[in-house]
Subunit: 702 residues, 2 copies
C-alpha cells in the first residue's frame, strides 16, 4: 500500500508526532518516472498544484477544460488526514471516504481486548452509534497564497546557514500566526521547488471525527503483505468517517457524488496529498540515498519488524496491539526495498548522470547561469555532512517517550516568542499539537516496554556501551530492565496528568520525577544539537535547490510541478491495463475475481474472504469492477485520494501503486507503472449487499 | 534451540561449507557463567576435555569416580554430525539418536514438493526403507594426542604474524596428513586455550548415513519460534539415523542403552561438541563483540530473516523450501539477541573489568609474568583491525555460489603442496570436502535467486553502487536481474558437471563460461585478501591468548577446561528445577503436559499437536517425563548430545538452553541457567505408542 504517511525520517525527525515510522514515498519509482529534474517528459506525469494546473496540456491532449467550479469543488471536496493520508467528502452531512489502511490507526485506537474493529469491521446503526476518534484531525484546503517574496526578503545574503535557517523559519511563523489570527484557519507556509517558492495554505480543521463504517481487514487487505504492491488485487480498502461540528454532522457544501460507471481508457483525476518526492535531487544526493541513508533505514525497518513480530508471538492480544505498527513497518520496508532496488540498477544512475552532466555543461556556457553551477557542489558537500551525522541523534521510540519529549520541549520553547521556537511549537500549530498530546487513545505498557527496550539497546549499539550518555540512560541496568522500570514508573499514560504538566509549564516539568520525563530531559540537549545541525544542512540544500530550480525554469520553462510536500495536488491519466511478462493485465478486477482468487489460494490466510462475503455472494453482481488501475502519478500520502471522472464524479479511491511503480523495471517500461484504486461501484455494491448499510447508501445516493 | 552449529562467521568465514548461517554459541550466557577467565568458580561449570576430566572434583563433590571403561564407552558412543551437532550410538547395529533440528537439514534435503519429511515425519518399515542422506558425515572420536610441542616448534620468535600463521598452519597440515596416512582416520589438530595447546583428534568417519525415524515438526518443535529458548517445554526434538558400512548396518561396539528411570537431583553427564565459547576473551575483545561485531551480525540475521519470510510468502512450496534456512536464522537471531542483551547490561562489563584490572595489577608485580601484560594490548589492537575489516569481504550467499567458490579455490590451491594450502583444502580434509561438493541434495533455483539478489544488493550497499568490484559484479544490471541471469545460466545444479569440473582442474575451471564460476573468479582475489588479513589478526590473537593462558595457569592452576572448539567435551550437573519470578519450575514436564499446553493455547499454531498424538493419547502414560532440565554447562553445538547417568545409561538428549542461559539475568541468579533435554523415557513411550515403531523399540531394548 502506498501508506498515508508523508513526512520524512531523515535526520532528526525520527520521532514523529504520530509515533509512527514514516515512508519516504515511492522514491525511486517516482524519480525514474522523471526524465529531467522537474519537467515531465513522460505523458501524464506530474503532481500539479491546484493554483497552477497544466490547463494547456489537458486541453491539447484530452480536450478537457476544467471549469473554475469543477476545480474548486474537487479541491474543497478533498480532505487531508493530518495523521498522513488523503480522503474526500462524499455527502452533504460530512461523510468522509478514505482507505481502511488510513483509518487503521483509529480503528486500532478504538479497539480493545475482545473488540477488534480493525479485523472484525464496524457499522454504526445510527448517528448515535458513530464512534468518536480519539485524536484525528482532518484538513480541508480553502485557499493558496504565494508568499515567496516575504520569505525571501527575510534572508540576507550575508547570513550564515544557521542564521538564514532561523530567519526563514521566523518569517514563516509570523505569516502563519498573522493568518491564523485573521482567518481562524490552520495556516501553513509550504516550501516548494526545493526552496524557490513559498505558498501559504489555509485549511479548515475538523477535530470531531467519528467512525461510521469499516469492513473486515480480511477483505480490506485481502492478500496481505504478500500481495502488497502487487496487481491484480481484490481489496475493499476503504472506510467511512463523518466530521461533526458542535456535536452535529457538519454541513458540507463541496462533496463528491458516486459515479454509476467506470470506463476503460476514460480520463480520471486524482486529488490528494502525495507525501514526498525528490525529483529535483542531484546525483550526489541520490548517491547518498542509495549508498548511505536507505541501507541504514532498511536496517532500522527490519529491526522494528522483527521486534514487533516477536512481541506478537506472546499472544493473540499482543498480536492485536502490535498490528498497526507492524503493518506500517512492513509496508515501508517493502516500498523502500523497491526504491533502493531501483536505484541499485546501474542504468538508473547512468541516465541521471548523463542528464546532469549535459545540464552542467550548458549552464557553464551561459553567462547568466554560470554562477549557479556551485549549487551542485554545495549539495554534494551537504551529503557528506548528512553521512557524518547519520545515526547520531539519541532518538528513542515509543509513545510514552514521545509524549515526554513533547512536554519537555514545549515547556522550554514556550518561554520564547513564537517565531523563534522549534517549528512544531509555533502558536499556529498549537491546536494540532494538543490534539495529539491529549489523545485518549490507549497506550499499552507491554508494547511500550518492548519498543523502549529495543530503542535503548539500539542506542547502546550505535554509540557503544561505554558512551557517557548511554551509561546515563541505562543507569546501570540492561536495556530490558531499564525499559521496564521506565514504563512501569511513568504516569504519562494518564491524559489528566499530561494536561496538568502542560499547564504547569517549565517549573512543573523540571520538578517532575516521572522517569520518562527524566529520560527526555537527559537526552534532549544532544537531540537538539543534532537537529540543529540537520536544519543547517537543510538550509544549505534549500538555497542550492532554489538555484537549481532557477536554472531549470530558465532551461525548461515554468510549466512544471514541484516535488511533493504532503499538500493537495492533482494528477491524471486514463484508466488503462498493461502488459507484464507477455500477459495482458486488464484495467480492472471484479468482485467475482475475489472469490476465484480465494479458491486459487486454497482459502488460506491472507487469501480468506470474510464470512460476510460468502453469505452475500449469491446477491452480489459478480461482474462489478472491484479494483482498477490508471496511469496517474501518485505516491505515499495519496492513499485514500478520490479518483474522479470528467464530470467530477467519484469513480474510485486510490490505495496502492503496483510494484512497477517502485522497481527498476520501470525504466524499461514506463508503460507498466500504475496507481491502484478501489472502484466506487464496488464500495456501493458491498455497502448494499454485504453490509446492509441502507442508512449510508441512502445518504450517499441522495 | 541451541542449534547444532559450531563454526564462527566472524571475519572471512561468512560462507560455510554447509551454506548455513552459523551460531556464535550462547556466548554471553557462557561468559557470564565464568567467574574468572578460565577457571570455573561456579560449581559444575565447565566443558571438560575427555583426556583431562575433573576427577578430583567429581570425587569430592559427587563421590563419583568414572572407571576408564565408563569414560571410553561414553566417548566412543558419542557421535559428531560434521554439519554441526552432536548425537550418540544407541544400538549395536548403528542406530544414531540426535535432535530433530540437527537432522532437519537432511529431512529437508530428502523432501520435495508434496513429500515433506520435516513436517510430516517418517518411519522406515524395514532396513530397505531407510533413506540415505545425500551428504551427511558422522564422526566418532577414537583418540586424542597432545602435539603442542610440534606446533610451537614450527613458529619462530622472529616471524611476522603472517609468517607465523603460515608456519603454524603448515605444521598442523603435516601432522594431520601423516596421521591420516598412518591410521586412515580423519585427523584434526585442534587449537585449545586460545593457542596455548594443540591436540590431535582422530575420528572414524561414517558417510553412509540413513534416516530411520523422524516425528512430525509439530511435536519436534512444539511452540515454535515463540517457545524457543523458553521452559517448560514439550518437544520431541529427536530423530534416528543409522550408519552403514559396505551397504550394511555398521557394527558398533560402544553404544548407550536407554535408562528406565529419571531421578530428580541425580547427577547426569552431557557428552557432546559445544561449538564455540569465548571465556578467555579480554575486555577489549568483548567490547568489540558488544559494540561492533554483534550489532552488525544482528543486522545481517534480520535481513536474512525478512528475505526468507518474503520468499516464503510466494507459496506453500516456497515456504517449505525456505524453512530450514529460516529456522537456522531465527534461532541464531534469538540466541545472539540474548547474548548481546546480556553484554549490554553494564553490570556484566563492570565485573569483567574489575577482574581484569585486578589480574593485570597482580602480574605487573610478578617478575616472571610482567612481560605478559602486553598480551592485553595486542588483543586490543587486534580488535581495532577487526573493526576496520568488518564487512569488507565481498561475501555472497547461496549454494551455487558456494559451490563455484569451492571449485575455483580448490583448483588454485591444489597446485600447491598440501601444507601451504588454505586449510580446508588440505589433503586430510579432502574426503569431507567432496562429501559436500558432490552432494545430491536438491538446489532450488528460486530460492538461490532470492538469496543471490539479496547478497548482491547487500554488496552494493556495503561498498557503494559505484565501487569498481560492485559495478563488475552487477555487470550493468539490477541485483534482481543479475541474480536471475546468474542462476538461470549456471549448470552447477548438476552433480556430474561439478565432478567434471573438479576433475578437469585449473584449466577446466578457468575455461568454464558458467556465469557463477565467472562471478567466483571475479570476487575471489578480494575475498582472499580479506581472509588473509583476518588470519593474520587471528595469529596475533592466538599468540596473545597463549600468553594470557600461561598467566592464568600460573595464577589459578591447571585444573581448568579450554574454550569450546566443536570437539568432544564432558559437562555435568544434577537434574534440577529452578525458581523464576516467584514460581517453582519443576525439573521435568510430562507427556500429559503437552496436551494441557495445547489446550491452554487454544490449539493454535505452533501449539497444535499432530493428529498422531491425539489418536494415541488414551494409550500413553501421561505421567512419563517429557523434557527435563539439568545444570550442565552447554552451548550451541551440544544439540543432540546424549545425557547419561552414573551407570552410563541414556536418560535424555540435549536440545536447548533456557533463556536464562543466554540473558543477563543469569548474572544475578546463576541458579537459573539450565540445559534442556528430551527424556529418553518419552522417546521410548512415543516410539511404542504413537509411532508403533516395534522394529526400532526391539532394537533399542535388545
Amino acid at each position: 500500500m502506498i501508506r498515508q504517511i508523508a513526512l520524512t525520517v531523515r535526520g532528526w525527525r525520527s520521532n514523529t508526532r504520530a509515533v509512527k515510522i514514516l515512508m519516504l514515498g515511492a522514491l525511486a519509482g517516482a524519480m525514474l518516472a522523471s526524465g529531467a529534474y522537474l519537467r515531465p517528459t513522460v505523458a501524464d506525469e506530474g503532481m500539479w498544484l491546484f493554483n497552477d494546473l497544466p490547463l494547456a496540456y489537458l486541453k491539447e491532449k484530452y480536450d478537457f477544460e476544467p471549469s473554475p467550479g469543477w476545480t474548486e469543488n474537487l479541491m474543497k471536496a478533498s480532505v487531508r488526514f493530518n495523521s498522513g493520508g488523503s480522503a474526500s467528502f462524499v455527502s452533504a452531512d460530512g461523510l468522509v471516504l478514505t482507505n481502511h489502511h488510513v483509518g487503521a490507526d483509529t480503528l486500532h485506537k478504538l479497539s480493545e481486548a475482545g473488540r477488534n474493529l480493525y479485523d472484525d469491521g464496524f457499522l454504526a446503526a445510527s448517528l448515535e452509534d458513530e464512534l468518536r476518534a480519539p485524536d484525528l484531525e482532518l484538513n480541508q484546503l480553502v485557499s493558496i497564497e504565494d508568499v515567496t517574496d516575504k520569505i525571501q526578503a527575510a534572508v540576507q545574503s550575508n547570513m550564515t546557514a544557521a542564521e538564514a535557517s532561523r530567519a526563514r523559519q521566523a518569517a514563516m511563523s509570523v505569516i502563519e500566526n498573522e493568518s491564523l489570527e485573521k482567518t481562524g484557519l490552520r495556516s501553513d507556509v509550504i516550501t516548494l521547488y526545493g526552496g524557490a517558492k513559498y505558498h501559504l495554505y489555509r485549511y479548515k480543521r475538523y477535530t470531531d471525527v467519528r467512525l461510521v463504517w469499516s469492513p473486515e481487514s480480511a477483505i480490506a487487505f485481502f492478500g496481505g503483505d504478500a500481495d502488497n504492491f502487487e496487481y491484480p488485487r481484490y481489496c475493499l480498502d476503504v472506510c467511512l468517517f463523518r466530521v461533526y461540528e458542535n456535536d452535529r454532522p457538519a454541513k458540507i457544501e463541496h462533496y463528491l457524488k458516486f459515479s454509476t460507471t467506470l470506463k476503460n481508457e476514460e480520463l480520471v483525476f486524482v486529488s490528494g496529498n502525495p507525501g514526498s518526492t525528490n525529483r529535483i535531487y542531484t546525483v550526489a544526493a541520490l548517491k547518498h540515498l542509495r549508498d548511505t541513508w536507505l541501507p541504514y533505514f532498511m536496517n532500522y525497518l527490519r529491526r522494528q519488524e522483527i521486534m514487533l513480530q516477536q512481541f506478537g508471538l506472546e499472544g493473540e492480544e499482543q498480536t492485536r496491539r502490535a498490528k498497526d505498527d507492524l503493518f506500517s513497518i512492513q509496508n515501508s520496508r517493502k516500498a523502500v526495498h523497491g526504491e533502493l532496488s531501483g536505484m541499485q540498477d546501474p542504468e538508473f544512475f547512468k541516465a541521471k548522470r548523463q542528464r546532469e552532466a549535459a545540464l552542467l555543461q550548458r549552464i557553464k556556457e551561459d553567462p547568466q547561469l554560470r554562477t549557479h553551477a556551485v549549487a551542485w557542489d554545495k549539495i554534494a558537500a551537504a551529503q557528506n555532512r548528512r553521512a557524518a551525522l547519520q545515526g547520531m541523534s539519541p532518538s528513542i521510540n515509543g509513545r510514552l517517550f514521545n509524549l515526554a519529549e513533547t512536554l519537555v520541549r514545549m515547556a522550554e520553547e514556550d518561554a520564547k516568542p513564537s517565531p523563534e521556537r522549534l517549528r512544531e511549537f509555533r502558536d499556529s500549530n498549537r491546536e494540532s499539537l494538543e490534539q495529539d498530546l491529549f489523545s485518549t487513545a490507549p497506550i499499552y505498557a507491554d508494547l511500550e516496554q518492548a519498543k523502549l527496550a529495543d530503542s535503548l539497546a539500539r542506542m547502546a549499539e550505535r554509540f557503544g556501551g561505554d558512551y557517557p550518555l548511554v551509561r546515563k540512560v541505562l543507569s546501570g541496568k540492561s536495556p530490558q530492565d531499564r525499559a521496564a522500570a521506565l514504563v512501569q514508573g511513568s504516569k504519562l499514560f494518564d491524559v489528566d496528568y499530561r494536561r496538568a504538566l502542560a499547564k504547569g509549564g517549565k517549573s512543573a516539568i523540571d520538578e517532575s520525577q516521572d522517569p520518562m520525563l527524566i529520560l527526555a530531559r537527559l537526552v534532549d540537549p544532544r537531540a537538539r544539537e543534532i537537529r540543529k545541525e540537520f536544519e543547517e544542512i537543510q538550509e544549505v540544500e534549500r538555497q542550492a535547490y532554489a538555484q537549481i530550480a532557477e536554472v531549470l525554469f530558465a532551461e525548461e520553462g515554468t510549466a512544471s510541478y514541484p516535488d511533493a510536500t504532503f499538500t493537495l495536488r492533482l494528477a491524471f491519466g486514463p484508466v488503462r491495463g498493461y502488459q507484464e511478462g507477455g500477459r495482458s493485465i486488464a484495467a480492472w478486477t471484479t468482485l467475482g475475481g475475489a472469490f476465484e482468487s480465494e479458491a486459487a489460494h486454497g482459502a488460506r490466510e491472507p487469501w480468506k474472504l470474510p464470512e460476510s462475503w460468502h453469505k452475500a455472494k449469491s446477491k452480489l453482481n459478480l461482474e462489478t469492477p472491484f479494483n482498477f488501475v490508471c496511469t496517474a502519478d501518485i505516491i505515499g500520502g495519496n492513499s485514500g485520494s478520490p479518483v474522479v471522472n470528467r464530470a467530477g464524479e467519484l469513480v474510485g479511491v486510490i490505495f496502492d501503486g503496483n510494484i512497477q511503480s517502485l522497481a527498476a523495471d520501470y525504466m524499461y517500461s514506463a508503460e507498466q507503472a500504475r496507481a491502484v484504486s478501489v472502484a466506487s461501484l464496488a464500495v456501493m455494491e458491498a455497502l448494499q449487499k454485504v453490509y446492509g448499510a441502507e442508512r449510508i447508501v441512502k445518504e450517499l445516493t441522495k
